[in-house]
């Protein structure tokens, strides 16, 4: 837990709404992201997590809502200066070897070679460097994508389902890497649908269901809101829905 830094607000998300025709994907979602915290966006499949993240990153147009950075409106063209969003279910440059793609992104983000090598070592990607991206297993593909995200240099890192496809040991390793990333000064916003996984890493939580914000805060705060004295995130979520 990074309690010291959590008092400093980094981004303020205000009244975000998004609808696709008659379907309301997000309705007046507001929350704040604090400097260097690990904030978990929790919700079942179809709750609007990805829509919310893509909206914050400026990759899809929103019907309403604003993103404030230190109190000032952060326009869509300027968001990439503050945040990097790693979508779920992508396979960039599938025909190229992993090493070539990582070198490409390192140059793109202006990252030194030793930093790239550190990320490769941290994620255990050495055996895959000579392989084409499309030949990677699900677990390696997830770690390859995480490597791309960790090479980015923006202060806020937004990851959509970062543990999807990882086994328990791999997931614990990635949790450790993400905690180190946070402790080095980066802020993380993670979308996670497995509540137990979220509880392992996140400082605070945003509970989303049906495009609406159910609650926000630490586990203790959410317990209070749910009216329960003990139990994990699963119990809180069930109590609030």
């Amino acid at each position: 837990m990074n309690l010291t830094a959590s008092s400093s607000e980094y981004l303020q998300i205000n009244n975000i709404s998004k609808h696709y025709g008659d379907i309301q994907a997000l309705k007046d979602v507001s929350f704040d992201i604090r400097q260097t915290e690990i904030l978990g966006l929790i919700g079942p499949n179809g709750s609007g997590k990805t829509t919310l993240l893509e909206g914050i990153a400026g990759l899809i147009p929103l019907n309403s809502g604003t993103v404030l950075h230190h109190g000032k409106i952060l326009s869509v063209p300027h968001r990439k200066q503050q945040m990097f969003y790693l979508p779920d279910g992508i396979m960039p440059y599938s025909e190229l070897p992993v090493s070539r793609v990582l070198e490409f992104f390192s140059r793109l983000f202006g990252v030194q070679a030793h930093r790239m090598n550190t990320v490769i070592t941290q994620l255990g990607l050495e055996p895959t460097l000579g392989k084409k991206v499309k030949a990677l297993s699900k677990g390696f593909n997830r770690r390859y994508l995480l490597a791309v995200a960790l090479l980015s240099t923006q202060p806020l890192l937004i990851l959509d389902e970062p543990f999807d496809g990882l086994d328990l040991r791999q997931m614990l390793g990635v949790i450790d890497i993400l905690k180190q990333t946070s402790s080095r000064g980066r802020t993380l916003l993670l979308s996670i649908h497995q509540l137990a996984d979220a509880q392992r890493i996140c400082d605070r939580f945003i509970l989303l269901d049906g495009g609406k914000l159910l609650g926000m805060g630490t586990l203790e705060a959410l317990r209070t809101k749910a009216g329960i004295t003990e139990g994990g995130l699963e119990e809180v979520f069930l109590a609030l829905t």
Binding site: A57, G58, L59, I60, P61, V76, K80, M83, F84, Y85, L86, P87, G89, I90, M91, P92, Y93, S94, E95, P97, S99, R100, E103, F105, L108, F109, G110, A113, M116, N117, I120, E126, P127, L129, G130, K131, K132, V148, S152, Q154
Partner: protein, 421 residues
């Protein structure tokens, strides 16, 4: 694509050379016939026909893949969050495709070189102008393909949209003979762009219009690739881009800079005639009583009007039968076949569609006496030769080179682990 292009170009070249050689056997005995032996029309245009087919039918897919693969693999979402913006991404993609295009030119240009090596005559300005025409054609297709890939959600739809433009040009050319409004639209079709250069004419306005169209489509691609923008903003920006492109193309179309780059000056009159025509400062009106389907009208348009349009400052052409839509053989008008000339209040008319008879009429209307300039007569370049020796190049070596190039660019890195550690 490059391998197919190599095979097609080789076949076209060998066939064209064989036909040219057969015609040359007779022409070598008669100087008058020899003057008709033009390697540009006889060999180069048919050989470049293979490039036309591939550029029209296969090249768009390469262009579409460049954008679609980025969209569908998620790469684009990552790229737009880096220091790169969409304008830069599109520019880099265009540059990458340009390299591909230069490779695509290799078979056709090697055919030109092969023609020279087997004793054929090459007039370089003609070839360069043809290459420029094809390059502009490919550039416009690139713009269309990028735009199609940007605006659609699947590669297949993008391909259909692009082919609607390219193959639509064929349909438009075919249909142009039936309706006057289709005829007007067909003048801006993609094939019309290429035809100008194939005729050995460099036109600054055509070049400018092609560049404007291509750039317009590329800018539209950046508008539609921006996933974070609302639809109404995309539509508004598209409208702005289209308006700007149209506004730019209007003055560009007025650029009257032409150069007949053919060695036999097939797009020009005698220099003395052209000098006299350029001095016709009053409006000249030509009324052509011929229907669009009449071959005499086609000859008149090609051999006389197209040159007059570039030389006479104020020319108006009227086709009375275009509005009535008469078909050949159905016209009972006594004037059918007549061509009237009105200049400075003076009227003349003729049934001829030959420059030798029409030009004196125009000079007489303008009150000018023209003394022909002595110009070197085009000798023609008949040659009896055999292109069979180039089969190995087009059918084996060049495809192998392209195959090796593909392997080289797609090979997996060796000992990458050691390099990165």
């Amino acid at each position: 694509m490059l391998i197919i292009l190599s095979l097609l170009t080789g076949y076209s070249f060998v066939q064209a050379v064989n036909l040219f050689s057969q015609a040359s056997r007779t022409a070598l005995q008669y100087p008058e016939m020899a003057r008709g032996m033009d390697p540009y029309r006889g060999v180069f245009i048919p050989t470049f026909g293979a490039l036309y087919l591939v550029t029209t039918l296969l090249f768009p897919f390469t262009a579409i893949k460049l954008i679609s693969s980025e969209k569908h693999s998620g790469s684009l979402k990552l790229l737009v969050q880096s220091v790169l913006n969409l304008r830069y991404i599109i520019a880099v993609k265009t540059a990458a495709l340009t390299i591909g295009w230069l490779l695509a030119l290799v078979p056709a240009l090697s055919a030109v070189a092969a023609w020279g090596m087997i004793g054929g005559h090459i007039f370089l300005p003609e070839v360069l102008n043809l290459v420029l025409g094809y390059t502009l054609y490919a550039f416009v297709i690139t713009g269309i393909a990028f735009f199609a890939a940007s605006v659609t959600s699947s590669t297949a739809t993008a391909a259909i949209l692009t082919l609607a433009f390219t193959l639509g040009s064929w349909v438009l050319d075919f249909a142009a003979g039936t309706q006057s409004w289709l005829h007007s639209i067909s003048s801006v079709s993609l094939t019309a762009l290429l035809r100008t250069f194939e005729h050995g004419l460099f036109s600054l306005s055509t070049t400018g219009q092609a560049l404007t169209a291509a750039l317009g489509f590329l800018v539209l691609s950046t508008v539609w690739l921006n996933s974070g923008t609302k639809l109404r903003w995309k539509l508004f920006r598209s409208l702005v881009v289209i308006t700007c492109s149209v506004m730019l193309s209007v003055p560009v179309s007025e650029l009257r800079v032409f150069d007949d780059v053919t060695e036999n000056r097939s797009n020009s009159f005698n220099p003395a005639d052209e000098a006299a025509l350029k001095q016709m400062n009053e409006p000249l009106t030509i009324t052509v009583y011929l229907s669009r389907e009449d071959s005499r009208r086609h000859d008149y348009d090609t051999n006389i009007l197209s040159i007059l349009e570039r030389t006479v400052p104020e020319l108006t052409t009227i086709y009375p039968y275009d509005s009535t839509g008469s078909l050949p053989g159905t016209v009972s008008d006594d004037k059918y076949g007549l061509i009237e000339y009105d200049y400075n209040g003076i009227h003349d008319e003729s049934w001829s569609n030959s420059p030798g008879e029409v030009l004196p009429i125009l000079h007489q209307l303008a009150g000018q006496t023209v003394t022909f300039s002595e110009v070197q007569q085009y000798p023609g370049y008949p040659v009896v030769t055999d292109a069979g020796s180039s089969n190995t190049w087009f059918y084996i070596i060049l495809p192998l080179v392209f195959l090796l190039l593909w392997w080289f660019t797609n090979r997996l890195p060796r000992n990458r682990k050691k390099e990165t550690q």
